[in-house]
């Protein structure tokens, strides 16, 4: 059975202190050791091992250190963090506090996207309650450890989900990505060592500390341990957030959410890839199909060129404009889609654009530009038949 309650983590039982009361009795080294052994990987998309990130920050000399939660969930088709923030934020705050103890930080910041501003009151209420009952603030649970969390709002910019752009935004700048290295673990917020993790990543932490690394590793595949939240939307009967173990296939997901006549599935949001039926049996895991949080389903009635155009328009608008491959490249891809729409795009021109898309992947400065051609390339490849050689349109 696909939804096995034993394999569900984030929606299982939890009371404040679930992991924290245990972590506070541990040494920072011990906490980091458990996190490294659990092989938890970042759930924001990039999949960097969380324990190693914490270890690097713990080893960095400079102080103070910061724990930043990336709650700038902007990837099209992704809404899992909204559910965690709205209904399960105690887990997130506890995960951040444990991270603080592990790396030697007393200050956490949640960067909440401006679109989720309506959640702010609720989140502040939870923070206040945690302070009142001694799980946040000075001398947490009489352990001598101080940690507090502040929420900072974004103002509508997809790029700020990239960790260095997020830090720039926190510092009151335009949200333009930085060069790496230095990595935030050495020089992050205000030049200080900073852990930046996704909402979902932090939310697993109390469970891993409470139940141990081995328990966490029982779930998932060889190289992708644990479960993952999937935001599933589009042409399905039961859209929503599902917690599923790594290794689940697209076909299984489609059955679970009541999808009929499915033609295509966009895995990983606008920056992910679009697959056709031939790949529906592939498992979702870091080593196979990259498991971004977002699954968008398209049935047979959908025009894939229209879908592609929507994705590229998104990137044209959300590119920060800092580097040329991303700023100009996405415009050229949009032009090509418009030509394809009018039935005016030659296959030779498309070959040139394929080269452009490849060079955007290699030469863009940050993840936005590097991943923005994915939809273009995968839709052109997997849905050639319907996209190429469309009849010429006289007038729209």
């Amino acid at each position: 059975m696909l939804i096995d309650s034993k394999k569900q983590i984030l929606f299982s039982e939890f009371t404040p202190g679930y992991g924290l009361s245990i972590a506070l009795k541990m040494s920072p080294e011990k906490i980091i050791d458990i996190m490294i052994r659990s092989t938890l990987r970042g759930r924001g998309g990039a999949g960097f091992p969380t324990g190693l990130k914490w270890q690097a920050t713990a080893k960095a000399q400079k102080t103070p250190k910061y724990i930043v939660c990336n709650a700038d969930e902007g990837e099209p088709g992704t809404f899992k963090d909204r559910i965690l923030l709205s209904d399960y934020s105690e887990k997130l705050f506890e995960g951040m506090t444990i991270a603080g103890k592990a790396v030697g930080s007393n200050k956490g910041i949640v960067y909440l996207r401006g679109e989720y501003r309506y959640l702010l009151k609720k989140l502040d209420k939870v923070l206040n309650r945690l302070r009142k009952i001694g799980y946040l603030g000075k001398n947490i649970l009489n352990s001598g450890f101080d940690f507090d969390i502040e929420i900072v709002l974004g103002s509508g910019a997809y790029i700020c989900g990239e960790e260095t752009a997020l830090i720039e935004s926190l510092e009151g700048n335009r949200g333009e990505a930085r060069n790496k290295p230095p990595f935030p673990t050495d020089e992050g917020y205000l030049g200080c060592p900073t852990v930046v993790n996704n909402v979902e990543t932090f939310s697993y932490v109390p469970y891993i500390i409470n139940k141990g690394a081995d328990w966490f590793m029982e779930i998932g595949t060889e190289k992708s341990k644990g479960s993952k939240l999937f935001s599933i939307s589009g042409d399905v009967k039961f859209p929503g957030v599902y917690e599923l173990p790594f290794g689940v296939s697209i076909a299984e997901i489609l059955e679970l959410v009541g999808a009929r006549d499915t033609k295509a599935v966009q895995v990983g949001g606008a920056s992910g890839i679009c697959i056709s039926k031939k790949d529906f049996d592939k498992p979702l895991a870091f080593e196979s199909l990259p498991p971004g949080g977002s699954i968008i389903v398209f049935n047979k009635s959908r025009d894939m060129l229209k879908v592609l155009k929507n994705f590229i328009e998104f990137f044209v608008e959300e590119s920060c404009g800092q580097c040329t491959p991303c700023r100009e490249g996405n415009y050229r891809l949009l032009e090509a889609v418009e030509k394809l729409e009018r039935g005016e795009c030659s296959i030779n021109y498309l070959k040139v654009l394929r080269k452009l898309a490849e060079s955007m992947k290699y030469t863009s400065k940050c993840g936005l530009g590097q991943t923005s051609p994915n939809a273009f390339l995968s839709i052109i490849d997997n849905f050639k038949g319907e996209i190429l050689a469309r009849p010429k349109k006289v007038n729209d």
């Binding site: 099209p76 309506y118 900072v152 939307s233 042409d235």
Partner: protein, 165 residues
């Protein structure tokens, strides 16, 4: 603007900057509050912020124009932002836009003559399982259909800008 009005503005901005502290890292928060207070960030507002933070006005302008939720031009009292990204698009955002355009007599990007509503598109706001969706200022509305949208807009037109459920 009369001199005394300029002074009032300068003092108001000064007190907001002081509330957060005149450090660069507070700039976005300061601009967010001023944007709420004055509806948009005029050149004069931005210049005042720059002088309080002792940075160049062009730096402040650069930040103000980067973020889509900060306005550098006047907007309506209520800014309607309809999500146009893929899933809301599949779920019929065009109908929602048409309805609002017809109801308010404006096109996307315009403001009603009475200054009450501005209509805009926005990118994915994480309501994909309940689209089409829109924000009116900070309030979220979802599972929209043309009739529901008209009801919501009427509620704002009557002056009731309370949140949904």
């Amino acid at each position: 603007m009369f001199r005394y009005q300029e002074e009032i503005l300068a003092n108001e901005i000064k007190s907001i900057v002081e509330k957060y502290g005149n450090k660069r890292e507070n700039l976005l928060r300061i601009l967010q509050e001023l944007n709420d207070k004055y509806n948009y960030l005029s050149e004069q507002v931005l210049q005042n912020v720059a002088s309080c933070l002792k940075i160049s006005p062009s730096e402040v302008y650069g930040v103000a124009t980067f973020y889509s939720f900060l306005n550098t031009k006047p907007k309506g009292k209520y800014v309607i932002r309809v999500c146009k990204t893929i899933v809301c698009d599949l779920n019929g955002k065009d109908k929602i836009i048409n309805t609002i355009e017809n109801e308010l007599g404006i096109k996307v990007g315009e403001t009603t003559k009475d200054g009450l509503f501005t209509l805009e598109y926005t990118n994915c706001m994480g309501m994909c399982n309940q689209g089409p969706a829109m924000l009116i200022n900070n309030d979220i509305y979802y599972n929209l259909d043309p009739e529901k949208v008209v009801e919501i807009i009427e509620k704002y037109a009557r002056g009731g800008d309370s949140n949904v459920d």
